[in-house]
Symmetry: C2
Subunit: 559 residues, 2 copies
């Protein structure tokens, strides 16, 4: 990335004499991380304690903590905005990679959905105001204010490299990040409790036998009887996934801002997203139309399958079975295609000689870590499914479909991650002619200024093996049309994967839970264990899809 020519003395591990300034950077980071860890663990304790009915932590305690945290974070954001507006020197540099437009756009979108959710929640709790703690109405109102302030703050400041009040800014950012994570935990736990509650209602019809559970759900002695109230309740549980995504989006942007505090960059005036304006322009002009068309077809079929599934599942045994077969068949086809396409993308990169981008880039490092980390959620669910199907006794069609689905899920996540990570490390397209390695036979000597520091030339069996690199290099200068062809292929691939990820995001985000309808795992692990596994891991799986979409959009622009 040409904007970031000099990493500056505070970023380079090679500068051994910067002395006292570096210790303060690490010290400030340590301080803010310790603050965040402690606040987060306190929130985690209260939220998880509040989730268990027999534990004497009330949800009002949790709401009070979250409200306080959001108010404090909003106060800090106001202070930050005031200060950077008044002091021109506060933000001397802006990181062009941070806060790309699709991330900020997604943040605004999810922020609006969160505001709608807060309206529903306020309406729900206002329906039985008289027998309700005031904090339950105060909490969604505070959340709405916080979301508005934070979204504006991130829209304006996501690219800032702050250079005043370093420690205070680090602590403030970490505290705001912690607030978002606490909101996220509370939303996940609330959704799980609601789901477990509706499961126990549906399967045992114990609504009347379990009054204190219902009481704690609907607050005190009042029940949610009116139609408006029930619409509000259903609506706000429906909107939880957006709130969860909003918190995670805001957290990633805040983390990048935190990493950028005190960072020095060479150029400070670049405002556009990624510096790849030449490759923008008409969205589909540079593709073969195969990727977007095939992706769009899969997208529409997926929507139809999802609607059929939602309508048919849970009606009776036969319909559920049929819905599950349709659901799994579509997913297996989709995942298989995605795996093949990701693989072919990786194969194309084997013939691509663009230089790799080695510049320090906190946004990209975080992107890669999030892709790998979020994939763990789906990996875990898949492995538990595999064990349940393989070890479990009844082996029918559904079990086979489930097994194939789980195996393909693992393969698809793996190959898609490999493809995306390799794509993100490619330089921009214009870098091909002058950044390619020189054509010496021994590639070990490509970096002449590092060579004199080495006493010996180590054996490098990979680089001198001519099988892959040699013949291509000899004809490298004649490859211009082929390079163009490759680029169009990569754009097709990324658009196809993007659309598939969207449809695979929609299904679980809007409530498809074949994990429970399909009884294999529930029978094998028991409901409570399997619910715990799915409820902890599935939000990561859903977040992975969202994050893959934003990464694939970046891959499309970079290709």
């Amino acid at each position: 990335m040409p904007e970031e020519l000099a990493a500056g003395p505070r970023e380079s591990p090679r500068a051994p004499r910067t002395g006292p300034r570096e210790v303060w950077k690490k010290g400030g980071r340590l301080l803010s991380v310790l603050l965040a860890v402690n606040v987060l663990l306190l929130a985690c304790t209260l939220v998880s304690g509040g989730a268990f009915n027999k534990v004497a932590v009330y949800d009002t305690d949790v709401f009070a903590l979250l409200t306080t945290m959001m108010l404090l974070a909003a106060l800090w954001i106001g202070f930050y905005l005031l200060r950077t507006a008044r002091c021109a020197d506060a933000v001397p540099y802006r990181d062009a990679h941070a806060g790309p437009i699709w991330l900020r756009g997604g943040l605004v979108l999810f922020g609006i959905c969160t505001l709608v959710m807060d309206v529903f929640k306020t309406g729900y709790y206002s329906s039985f105001y008289e027998c309700q703690s005031a904090i339950k109405i105060l909490h969604p109102l505070t959340q709405a204010v916080f979301v508005v302030i934070q979204t504006y703050f991130l829209w304006v400041s996501a690219k800032d490299c702050v250079h005043v009040h370093l420690d205070l800014t680090r602590c403030g950012l970490m505290f705001t990040l912690t607030t978002n994570l606490a909101n996220w935990m509370a939303a996940v736990v609330d959704e799980s409790v609601h789901q477990a509650h509706s499961h126990s209602n549906a399967s045992h019809a114990r609504l009347a036998a379990n009054p204190e559970r219902v009481g704690s759900q609907a607050g005190g002695d009042c029940a949610c009887a009116t139609t408006v109230c029930q619409i509000f309740e259903r609506g706000y549980f429906y909107l939880y996934p957006f709130n969860i995504e909003y918190s995670l989006f805001a957290s990633t942007m805040l983390y990048v801002m935190w990493k950028n505090v005190g960072r020095l960059l060479a150029s400070s005036t670049h405002g556009h997203g990624h510096g790849h304006t030449p490759s923008r322009g008409s969205l589909f002009r540079e593709t073969f139309f195969v990727g977007p068309v095939l992706g769009l077809m899969l997208f529409l079929v997926g929507l139809a399958v999802f609607i059929i599934y939602e309508v048919q599942v849970g009606r009776d045994g036969d319909h559920t079975q049929q819905a599950l077969v349709i659901y799994y068949s579509f997913n297996i086809a989709c995942l298989g295609l995605m795996t093949l396409v990701s693989l072919s993308g990786s194969v194309i990169y084997r013939f691509d000689h663009r230089a790799m981008d080695h510049h320090k880039n906190p946004t990209r490092t975080l992107d890669v870590a999030l892709l790998m980390g979020a994939a763990l959620g789906q990996y875990a669910i898949s492995y538990y499914s595999i064990v349940a199907v393989v070890v479990g006794v009844p082996r029918d069609t559904l079990g086979a479909l489930n097994l194939a689905h789980a195996l393909l899920m693992i393969a698809q996540h793996t190959f898609q991650n490999v493809f995306i990570i390799e794509s993100l490390h490619r330089g921009p397209p214009g870098a091909e002619p002058h950044d390619a390695p020189p054509k010496e036979p021994c590639l070990t000597f490509a970096n002449p200024d590092a060579l004199h520091a080495l006493p010996t030339c180590p054996p490098t069996p990979r680089s001198v093996s001519p099988g892959l690199v040699g013949p291509q290099e000899a004809t490298a200068t004649f490859l211009a049309p082929r390079a163009h062809w490759r680029r169009r292929c990569l754009k097709d691939i990324s658009l196809f994967l993007l659309l598939c990820n969207i449809v695979l995001w929609i299904m679980p985000a809007f409530g498809a839970r074949p994990h429970f309808s399909n009884k294999v795992e529930v029978d094998f692990y028991g409901y409570s264990l399997w619910a715990a596994i799915v409820n902890i891991c599935l939000p990561f799986g859903i977040f992975y899809r969202m994050h893959a979409v934003s990464s694939l959009l970046e891959v499309y622009v970079l290709a």
Copy 2:
């Protein structure tokens, strides 16, 4: 660290033209991480499935998986040792920071204890050989072979920077690391099941009413009736903590080896531990004797308290109460002293002008990450205790002691981590005269070669504030005796903290569980939730103490 002058082209983020070699490094790392994640998740699924009685995963499945993994890892280790012995070019460099002598010594110590455990386990399962799956005897035998091979391998090769078969070596190291983590998980789960089992026996005396549970513990239809068998059983559960530590020690060393694969260093022949031979010598000669003497006193008092606690707890209500009061009082005194001492260590560093060490050092990065990560276990337990005491109803002496203990635990971990991390980033003592920053008034200009790359000099309010730095700098050349005095103080502090950490390690590692004897949290959260919290978090807390001891030994040598 003077040995590591040139980071080499593959390690520096500044070298933008290394091209194809760098992508292979990242690709190889990605590949091995993906392998490790998948194997680890599979092991995690089986181990956690085997822990639940109603899940149809048998412990023989888990044993079979672990045995296979250990055999494969042992095969790879044999292949690695053969190859590096035959090929002189395979290991051109050795990382002097990796595998210090205390880590390798600890590994051997815990390895021996694991071997004893394996003997006990083999004896235990041989006692009822006829009604037992053969894999249960094969597993400890394989583990013994694996431990011997792996300990030899790590003793010999912990410092290697391998340069042949890079991808295969990365995958092999990651697979061995995964095997250790799987062993660790299995040990933790087995210990938890055993503890929950003995808890349910002790509190409900349901031994006879729950025959299938006992059956699954003792294997099939046979009971462990003979005295020898019972000694074997008690012995091997007693030795589990050592097995857990062994797995974690081996994992950290394997991770550092993995990070070092393909790394280029300037000098290759350094064999000694840390290059700080001048500060070795007689162990206590350079201290004021206050630290070691006070630490030794606390150590002995702690041992006495631990024995009293173990004898008195669980006898009856009064004795248990008394034992808990003694236990908590000692811990509060010890933690309070440690907090104060860590704080004073950090204060001393404010007057210390040794240059910070900014060289890339995977061992240190991992050390810091492990200290911060392992502390999370104890943090979590403490926050759950605090919430239980503050929100719970009965407020007596024990509750107050518990609260003070939890709060001091958090403070002690925080300040000790700050002290250790700051210590590990100090340069060696000899570096003081020539590595100190030049005495310009504006420290921003300390790195002249980075300055011309920057268009502006950013505002740095911290560095130019004269409050802390100014007066000390003016007299820096006259501080030699004071610097010596500071160094002795730091050595005292590190020895004191080291001894305290050992005694705080002994108590939980050898079975003190005030978390359950003290009924506050059990009553508040319910037994199963609280047991899950403690059993997941406490192993990290115990590992933290071990790791802090090894880090403090390093601090002592560096000071």
